[in-house]
């Protein structure tokens, strides 16, 4: 990096950026592939000359529009007075690179080699390459100019204005989510384009968001939402509830979104244990399983151990309590075991659960036969798996589960946020940072840690109860080690200790496989790679905790030191502060 810096004089920043931007605009108008896509009327990928992509930003042609927008913005940013200009340029550059690489690679794979993206059969297509080069130029321009700190907006606004800003931002967010979910339709053999469209859009949005972050807009909005917490939460929940009324209001996405919600709620529970208290739990999915089995046994299903059918709310409470008790049991070794040994203890508990469930312990789990036919939740005669008709509006099936799960996620978020900003939350963070010092401050660390396990497990148990009814079959193999790893990956990918992070992490880890059905075999491998790469390059995750975000603002182009997972065994502990 330093050698690169020597070559790149600050004076080069503007010419590089303008060059990159212009090249991106040209790239947007060049053909990108040489072969013809049957689905798009035999045109090139897409039609070279038609400008139909302007009215279809979320279809296969959309990437051209995205490239065009990014290119124009790069030129504007290079010439106009923009705060944190070079940081913005770098973000836009990465967006261009992402869009270029994703579409080029996909076309090359799909079209059978490099010829598909260069020149073949008398057709030429260098659009993708031009786009990548343009992106690299913009990134280099950013580095040459020196990456600034994130710009901070200190503007104070009146409450109504703040409300308006928040409302608009969240509605925009809702529409974006809906469009992204629907972009290119769902994946699978029938629609091989869903994956690249989604990924390309993701790349574009990441670049755009990075730019907005650099300018300080996202920071400002998140500060506003911090100041008006209640309002933001309410609007956010309303927006989430509005999703069924948008394009994404299909049976398919309701189901997927509900699954995401269950995992997100569980991940937030895990975030209490891992993110706040710093205790690595490798068997966490067992609590989801315990909750699910308890609820299934009280559901009146034919295979249930108890012949009673309890109302869902009651069953869910029992499930949460039972899971919480097991959480306290699993957490009790924390009194004596620390750090990575503790992680192994939790792993062992998780495996014991799996084995016990597999062997139908006490006739409670159905063993290999599972507990099938758990009836759907039924309130006021409305079964949750049926579609719902309000007046003339027919909502997709599964919408009630979706709503229930939104409420669940909101509840879990409130629990997390309230605990985090209270005496117990500070105690957890203190334990994570330096357990001995925490004890010296009068914190009963053993109690606090067991409480973290207990609460985390309770939340997972609650999610498990919903899970049981929603999936209707509860089988031991839904709760294996790899699921624990997935949850952990969601927490770490999103950012430890951060709520939006856990939701985003869970969403990414579950939406991506849906969009990339044809690559579903690679799902676990990608999780593994993600864990390695995040620990190496971005241990604070995608949406770091507020404090860490402040810390990141001081970082330049280089990586960020890993101090987030501040859990030390005793000998290393003393060095925690020495940096």
């Amino acid at each position: 990096m330093s050698q690169l810096k020597d070559v790149l004089k600050p004076g080069l920043a503007r010419p590089l950026a303008v060059g990159g931007g212009v090249l991106a605009v040209i790239a947007a108008l060049l053909p990108w592939v040489t072969y013809k896509f049957a689905q798009y009327g035999g045109d090139n990928y897409p039609a070279a000359a038609s400008l139909q992509f302007f009215d279809a930003p979320f279809q296969l042609e959309g990437y051209r529009l995205h490239t065009l927008i990014l290119g124009v913005v790069v030129v504007v940013v290079a010439l106009a007075p923009v705060p944190a200009r070079h940081r913005v340029l770098r973000a836009l550059g990465w967006g261009l690179v992402a869009v270029g690489v994703i579409n080029t690679v996909f076309a090359a794979v799909e079209g059978g080699g490099l010829g598909a993206v260069t020149a073949a059969d008398g057709a030429i297509a260098f659009g993708g390459f031009a786009c990548v080069v343009a992106g690299v130029l913009a990134i280099l321009a950013g580095i040459a100019g020196g990456i600034e700190h994130v710009h901070v907006w200190r503007a104070k606004v009146a409450t109504p204005v703040a409300y308006l800003v928040l409302l608009v931002s969240f509605v925009v967010l809702l529409l974006l989510v809906a469009m992204m979910l629907n972009a290119g339709g769902q994946g699978g053999v029938g629609n091989p384009y869903a994956g690249p469209i989604f990924l390309s859009l993701l790349g574009f949005l990441a670049g755009a968001l990075g730019a907005l972050h650099g300018v300080g807009l996202t920071g400002w909005i998140s500060k506003l939402s911090d100041q008006h917490k209640v309002f933001s939460v309410a609007v956010l929940v309303l927006c989430a509830l509005a999703l069924p009324f948008t394009e994404a209001g299909t049976d398919y996405w309701m189901t997927t979104a509900a699954n995401i919600g269950i995992y997100a709620a569980t991940a937030i529970g895990l975030n209490i244990v891992v993110g706040l208290a710093g205790l690595l739990d490798l068997g966490y999915v067992a609590f989801l399983g315990i909750g699910a089995f308890v609820a299934a046994n009280f559901s009146g299903a034919a295979a249930a151990a108890f012949g009673v059918e309890l109302p869902f709310v009651l069953a869910a409470i029992i499930a949460a309590v039972v899971a919480g008790i097991f959480g306290a049991i699993v957490g009790s070794p924390t009194l004596r075991v620390r750090g990575d040994y503790l992680a192994i203890v939790t792993l062992a508990f998780g495996e014991i659960f799996k084995k016990a469930a597999q062997n139908n312990i006490g006739g409670l789990t159905g063993g290999a036969n599972a507990i099938p036919n758990v009836p759907p939740i039924n309130w006021f005669g409305q079964s949750f798996d049926k579609s719902l008709t309000i007046g003339s509006l027919e909502l997709p099936s599964g919408v009630l589960y979706y709503v229930l799960i939104i409420v669940l996620v909101a509840l879990v978020m409130v629990v997390f946020a309230n605990l985090k900003n209270a005496r117990i939350g500070r105690a957890w963070i203190a334990i994570r940072e330096d357990e001995d010092a925490a004890r010296a401050m009068g914190i009963k660390t053993g109690q606090a840690k067991i409480l973290a396990f207990l609460i985390g497990a309770t939340l997972a148990g609650l999610a498990g109860a919903v899970f049981a009814h929603k999936t209707s079959t509860v089988a031991y193999d839904s709760f294996q080690f790899i699921e624990s790893v997935t949850l952990l990956a969601a927490v770490i990918l999103g950012g430890m200790g951060s709520i939006p992070g856990a939701v985003l992490g869970a969403a990414l880890l579950l939406v991506l496989p849906e969009k990339l059905r044809e690559f579903s075999d690679y799902r676990l491998m990608l999780f593994g790679l993600a864990l390695i790469l995040i620990m190496r390059f971005r241990p604070q995750g995608l949406v770091p905790d507020r404090h860490r975000r402040a810390e990141l603002a001081d970082e330049g182009a280089e990586g960020v030191p890993i101090e987030e997972l501040n859990v030390h065994d005793t000998p290393g502990g003393s060095t925690a502060v020495a940096r």
Binding site: G278, L280, L282, P333, R336, V337, G339, D340, Y341, A343, I344, V345, L347, A348, F349, E351, I352, K355, A356, Q358, N359, F481, I482, V485, L488, I492, D521, Y522, L524, M525, F527, G528, L529, A530, L531, I532, M535, R536, P539, I562, E563, E564, L565, N566, V567, H568, D569, T570, P571, G572, A576
Partner: protein, 309 residues
């Protein structure tokens, strides 16, 4: 009685495999306090690599001669395992050497998933257990005794012999050789070791490599004894071996070997005699693991962990 003896033998064989893997765990943990979660997968990869050596590298005329095939398979398995471990150390763990301790553990988890998936996806037929060639070293010795028949195969004897010899050689190497001294010095205090002219990076890589080589050899022995290998064994045997290393006292060669045999015997006897039988034999091992970690984390032979000043 015969059943008991037979189970003891089975347990010893299983224990020998576990001991070989546990040596790698204990050495790496001893030197950089990393639970190399991926070590079990290295063992699994070793099993597949030696199978690949047999299937794709060896000329057909050598395949029937065990004295040609077996050593070459072992070399193939160990070599791939070592290369893998060195890459792993260099690119996944070394950059995190000064990071908080959970970071490398999570990375190890990631590496473990990646290795398992890579084999499952890319080794032909590895979505199910892949059969090992068996004919060429399969000789059963059996005796009638105690009112039953007790059988031990040549592969079982080989497994036990290799693990014992491996442990003795390793112990001698570490206590006598120059590199062994460097290892012990680095384990005690890497900074001081550096001042004394020891290159900690080289020492750590060497530790990984030795552990991986043993795991690779364990892989081939496992394959020829149990006559197949599949992608699940890495995780399972990784846990067994880790339990063995902790039981014996992390950092102790002797402890790893005795711990390995103990785990093998416990699994085999628990499967025979404890309630639940083989369905619950793993549960007993996990319970043992928890109990040891909670009540005697220094293991049977380790010293209580001294606080490093």
């Amino acid at each position: 009685m015969a059943t008991l003896l037979q189970q003891l033998i089975n347990g010893l064989v299983l224990g020998a495999a576990i001991a070989l893997i546990a040596l790698g765990y204990t050495m790496v943990y001893g030197i950089i306090q990393l639970i190399n979660f991926a070590h079990g997968e290295v063992f699994m990869v070793g099993g597949f690599a030696s199978l690949a050596t047999y299937s794709y590298v060896l000329p057909d005329s050598w395949k029937s001669d065990w004295y040609l095939a077996l050593p070459l398979m072992a070399v193939g398995g160990a070599l791939v395992a070592v290369v893998l471990a060195v890459i792993m150390e260099r690119f996944a763990y070394r950059p995190l050497r000064n990071a908080p301790r959970l970071a490398p553990l999570i990375t190890a988890l990631g590496v473990s998933v990646v290795l398992k998936e890579a084999v499952r996806l890319w080794y032909p037929g590895a979505t199910a257990p892949v059969p090992y060639p068996r004919a060429f070293v399969d000789k059963q010795f059996s005796v009638e005794a105690f009112g039953g028949r007790i059988t031990i195969g040549s592969t079982a004897l080989l497994m036990i012999a290799v693990s014992l010899i491996g442990a003795v050689v390793l112990q001698t190497y570490i206590s006598r050789s120059r590199m062994g001294r460097a290892m012990r010095a680095t384990a005690q205090d890497p900074d001081t070791a550096r001042l004394m002219g020891v290159n900690p990076n080289r020492t750590i890589v060497l530790t990984f490599a030795i552990g991986a080589a043993l795991a690779g050899i364990a892989g081939v022995l496992y394959g020829i004894h149990y006559t197949n290998v599949d992608t699940e064994v890495g995780f399972l045997y990784g846990i067994f071996a880790f339990t063995a290393a902790v039981l014996g006292g992390v950092g102790s060669i002797k402890g790893a070997v005795i711990g390995g045999f103990a785990i093998g015997l416990i699994k085999s006897l628990a499967g025979q005699y404890l309630p639940g039988g083989t369905s619950y034999d793993l549960v007993w091992i996990f319970i043992l693991l928890i109990v040891v970690l909670v009540f005697r984390p220094q293991g049977l032979f380790g010293e209580p962990e001294r606080v490093r000043a």
